[in-house]
């Protein structure tokens, strides 16, 4: 079964991916941070046993991954592919993951909270993801009683998740908007509307690949539908601005844009060594070239998927033994192989 990020990206432009995350905790158990190693293990086993048939109920296969006993790099790779979050990478003690074969659904057990349920897909699709998560949530709840408070709703380890426990997020590709001088200000202003925007990949203060994730800040006092529609609306606003700048640039500076996009393609197709930063920068340009019709590839390729695969930890997993000594060389070779010829 192919992964969600290997499916076609046709029709996606600014909306690169969508994600819905629910946090849930069981009654009568302290949150993971207050659980002893033994109790944590018992809880994980109990959850795993109770949810062992989730694949049959959901109609796809699930794999059980013992994150707690994996090394940092393997965990880091899961994080790069957006399966687990940063906290789950560094957490000590028992921690487990139920992951659907397409990696669209991931259920982290005993991470920051007892249960972190996430559904992710390419392009737009918050509403579908929410119905999927809602259904899976009910499936889990049929087997386990949740910690729920009349006033505060679903109880979570952090007060920033309490209430619905819902984070709805859209990954936006903003290669034009993000280079504008006003971008920082625009991002800051988004918080006035109750959403946050953060860079997805990069190092220090640098963003690689112009991918940004927009999500709701508040989880309490709004219904799930209200949260979803807020995030959707705000994401659309940014997408509209991005498209507007793109079409203006295309109209007035088409050759400049074409030149930049084609040079980027050329580098990716012929370079012998690529750092993450270089690869992300050129892949971002190529992705824009493809969505704007400036570049025609002979066959479809999921460029966002490729961006995840060439991240440091995943690249190491994909590289052969001989290649591991020079990962930048491996990255260039991998991209050359994966990037289709021009049509």
């Amino acid at each position: 079964m192919s992964k969600w990020y290997q499916d076609t990206e046709a029709g996606h432009d600014v909306f690169t991916a969508s994600r819905v995350r629910l946090v849930r905790n069981l009654e009568h158990y302290p949150f993971p941070v207050r659980l002893s190693e033994a109790d944590g293990r018992e809880l994980v086993e109990k959850l795993e046993t109770g949810l062992k048939d989730i694949g049959a109920a959901d109609g796809r296969e699930f794999e059980r991954i013992p994150v707690g006993s994996m090394d940092q790099e393997a965990r880091e790779a899961l994080k790069e592919r957006r399966v687990i979050n940063g906290a789950a990478v560094s957490k000590e003690g028992p921690e487990s993951l139920l992951l659907s074969a397409d990696e669209r659904v991931s259920i982290t057990l005993d991470g920051e909270d007892h249960i972190r349920l996430q559904c992710i897909c390419g392009g737009a699709g918050l509403n579908e993801l929410w119905s999927e998560a809602d259904r899976l949530d009910d499936y889990i709840n049929e087997r386990f009683d949740y910690a729920f408070h009349e006033k505060y709703g679903y109880l979570t380890a952090y007060p920033t998740n309490v209430g619905t426990g819902l984070r709805a997020a859209v990954t936006l590709h903003l290669p034009m908007l993000s280079v504008g001088k006003q971008f920082g200000k625009l991002v800051n202003e988004m918080s006035r509307f109750g959403v946050a925007v953060r860079g997805l990949y990069g190092e220090g203060s640098e963003n690689y690949g112009a991918l940004y994730e927009l999500s709701n800040q508040k989880t309490l006092g709004m219904t799930e539908e209200e949260i979803l529609s807020l995030v959707q609306q705000m994401a659309e606003r940014l997408a509209v601005s991005e498209r507007k700048i793109k079409s203006l640039t295309l109209r007035n500076h088409r050759l400049d844009m074409e030149d930049e996009v084609c040079k980027s393609y050329g580098v990716l197709k012929y370079a012998r060594r690529l750092s993450v930063k270089e690869a992300m920068t050129y892949l971002s340009q190529v992705r824009m070239g493809v969505t704007e019709g400036l570049l025609k590839l002979s066959e479809p390729v999921n460029l966002y998927g490729l961006m995840m695969e060439i991240q440091p930890a995943n690249m190491k997993l994909l590289a052969s033994e001989d290649e591991k000594s020079d990962i930048r060389q491996a990255r260039a070779a991998y991209i050359r192989k994966r990037l289709p010829e021009l049509a």
Partner: protein, 185 residues
Amino acid sequence: MLCEKCKIREANIRYTEVVGGVRTEHNLCSHCAREMDFGHYAAVFDTDYPIGRLLSDLFGLDAEQGESEEAGLEQVVCPTCHTAYSDFVKDSRFGCPDCYRVFDLLMSENIKKIQGSDTHKGKRPRFGHDEGREASGKSEKEKLAASIGLLDSKLKEALAEEEYEQAAAYRDQIRELKERLKENE
């Protein structure tokens, strides 16, 4: 280092804000941090990352405040998971579902500040949740007593600061809790 906002008090809170891939470090005094518009702060409430100590100050006590009162609040401990209020302040993290009941009155205002609301709307568990069921009926009394103790010190604090409106609110809450305590006996 002096607080970047008032440039008067010593900065004792540092937080890193990442906006659009740009990381900025801010140094504020506890006073100014509390005054800050949460919308602006919110960029750090990054989707999935633990906010760790970021909220400490907001949940905590004023650093300038007398130590005796602080000690009083720190003593409040969740009977179920033994998280002390001071732990909660330090990590901005609860230890167990019962912490919400134990620390409710202490932190409800702050939850409102972060979340813009203190009341859940939306989905409720569709299975198994027995309304009003208590994990341990015995400790309900303890919890009420603990909450009253806390409120009492909050009340004194408010009176000392001449925040009479706030004090009246605490007084009403204490009265309500005492009634519940009576019902519980």
